[in-house]
Amino acid sequence: MNTKPESQSLAAWVEETREGIDSGRFPVRAFNDQAVYDLEQERLFSKTWCFLAHESEIPHPGDYVTRYIGNNNLIVARDEHGEIHANLNMCRHRGNVMCKAEMGNASHFRCSYHGWTYKNSGELVGVPYMKEGYEGRLKRKDWGLVGVRVDSYEGLVFGCLDPEAPPLDEYLGGFQFYLDLYLKHGLGGVEVHGPPDHWIADTDWKICTENFAGDGYHTPVAHQWGFHLGYFPSSGSTHSQGWAVSIPGKGHGIGLGHGPNFPPFGGFPDDLVAEMKQSLSPEQVEVFSRTRTAVGSVFPNLSFLMQPFSLEPGEIGVRFVTMRLYHPVGPGRMEMYSWCLVPKNASQEYKKEAYRAYTLAFGQAGTFEQDDFENWTKVTQAAGMTMVRDVDFPYIMGMDSAPDPEFPGPGHAVVPYVNDTNFRNLWSRWADYLAGEV
């Protein structure tokens, strides 16, 4: 037996974990443990850029949604000038929640306890009995809602609790090249099809992040039904083809699965392909035109998936894009947010078709989604068992893969698509945060 984590300090366990990742080992315990969860809240979610909302969810002045960074509930609102703000959903006076709805439109938020009122930008504007009660001692400008840094990329709005953290651009560190695959669908970009599905599961958020950082390995087994009945445009024997790309030192990763004889940009309507060739760079076109399935994670808990899905066995069908956020709500427990992104410039008919494919495959009743969560809840359950506290998982696939020198995109690109390189990069970044090194 190895050293027992319970007799070890958490710091020593984190250090040992960091060293283990380099040699392709990762502890099962990380996926369901109160101490690890607490440390993530303290050191990870307080420092990373976390996804808040897509701009198309709040298109008009006053539109807002309530979202989370770690355990912090935030109001993400577009002010009267069109600027987006994220503020803690808590009245500065006595801490009542300002906004109990998930979304809506409001020029002001008024606390239902003592009536303090804020503009949707977070600025305090109204204090009842201001003159009589506070006798001039309360300066409204000192008591606005607690704000959070906000920045965006191609419609994705992120927030960061750490004022010292590097800007979003640097945080994404080149992964923008791959995000464009999901976001630059035609010259108009993408929009959400509607509010996100959300549901709660006894699953650790990290299992989902890992899976979407490019786990092509699970597909032919976990989603065998799709291959078996011909609804999925690849086969078990060719499924390993493609690239796994990670951004070293940043944690982001993407799997780009290829299909032999797969037509360039197959499953997209022709007019959209023509526009994509203008919105994407020649390097991006070279990489993406061959891509059948693209599954990627932005560290720490935002993911994307794009794939064609057909209701006619053997046909290529229609491409759909899903964006998902894994909001941790406890050790081994998370709230899932899942959106469908559709090209803004596409026909209503295509948007509808893409959305139906998404719902059937990856909504909460989605036929692929169902099996993922069945597996992930069981993994999480296992990770909570006492006997596995000292047990590691092997992350040694592609340990010696050299980067493909011909690959035109940024990052570390390896073949085949079935590879653990992205995951080692992901866990190594995660461990750096937990060690307090970021």
Binding site: K100, D197, W199, L229, A365, F373, E374
Partner: protein
């Protein structure tokens, strides 16, 4: 109000049809269940969103949990018939409690709009904690030469944040 808009025999037949349809699902007789649907079935569950009381909608006009027609329901059933539908291996135990069934004349002569409440108890494996789904349904049933058929299922979940790791059952 107070007057029964659909005659008692018809109302009673519709209620029995609703119960038999639920029974087919609970007994996992999915092919029998498919046979109870019209070819032009629409099977929808809109997404519930928590909004302020005066909001225009709280059931999303665009987002759906189920957004199916005959073809996609066939895909769901075909999937369950493979050995790889892991979400239902072993199968969930479900019980549909259908109550407050009210039939009203529909838009077409042979169609009736049927409102009902549906509470679904779902247990998985040895877990002592079941999932409970409460739904309000506005279905359309059609009288055909071969008997009653479900032409539309519209069901709204009473919870916005669904407390279940997936929805691998039918509603």
């Amino acid at each position: 109000m107070g007057e029964q808009p659909v005659d008692r025999d018809t109302a009673s037949e519709i209620q029995e049809f609703m119960f038999r349809e639920a029974l087919a699902l609970d007994e996992r007789r999915f092919r029998d269940w498919l046979a109870m649907l019209t070819d032009d079935i629409r099977y929808e569950a809109p997404l519930r969103v928590i909004r302020e009381g005066l909001a225009v909608w709280d059931l999303s006009p665009t987002s759906r949990i189920f957004d199916d027609d005959r073809q996609t329901l066939e895909v769901r059933i075909q999937r369950l018939e493979t050995d790889f539908a892991w979400a239902e291996q072993p199968p969930s135990q479900t019980r549909h409690f259908v109550t407050n069934v009210l039939a009203d004349p529909g838009d077409n002569p042979d169609e009736y709009e049927v409102r009902s409440n549906c509470l679904i108890y779902r247990s998985r494996g040895t877990s002592p904690t079941p999932s409970l789904y409460s739904l309000s349904r506005k279905d359309v049933v059609r009288r055909t030469e071969d008997g009653w058929r479900l032409a539309r299922r519209w069901a709204a979940f009473d919870q916005a944040l669904i407390n279940a790791h997936n929805l691998s059952i039918l509603i």
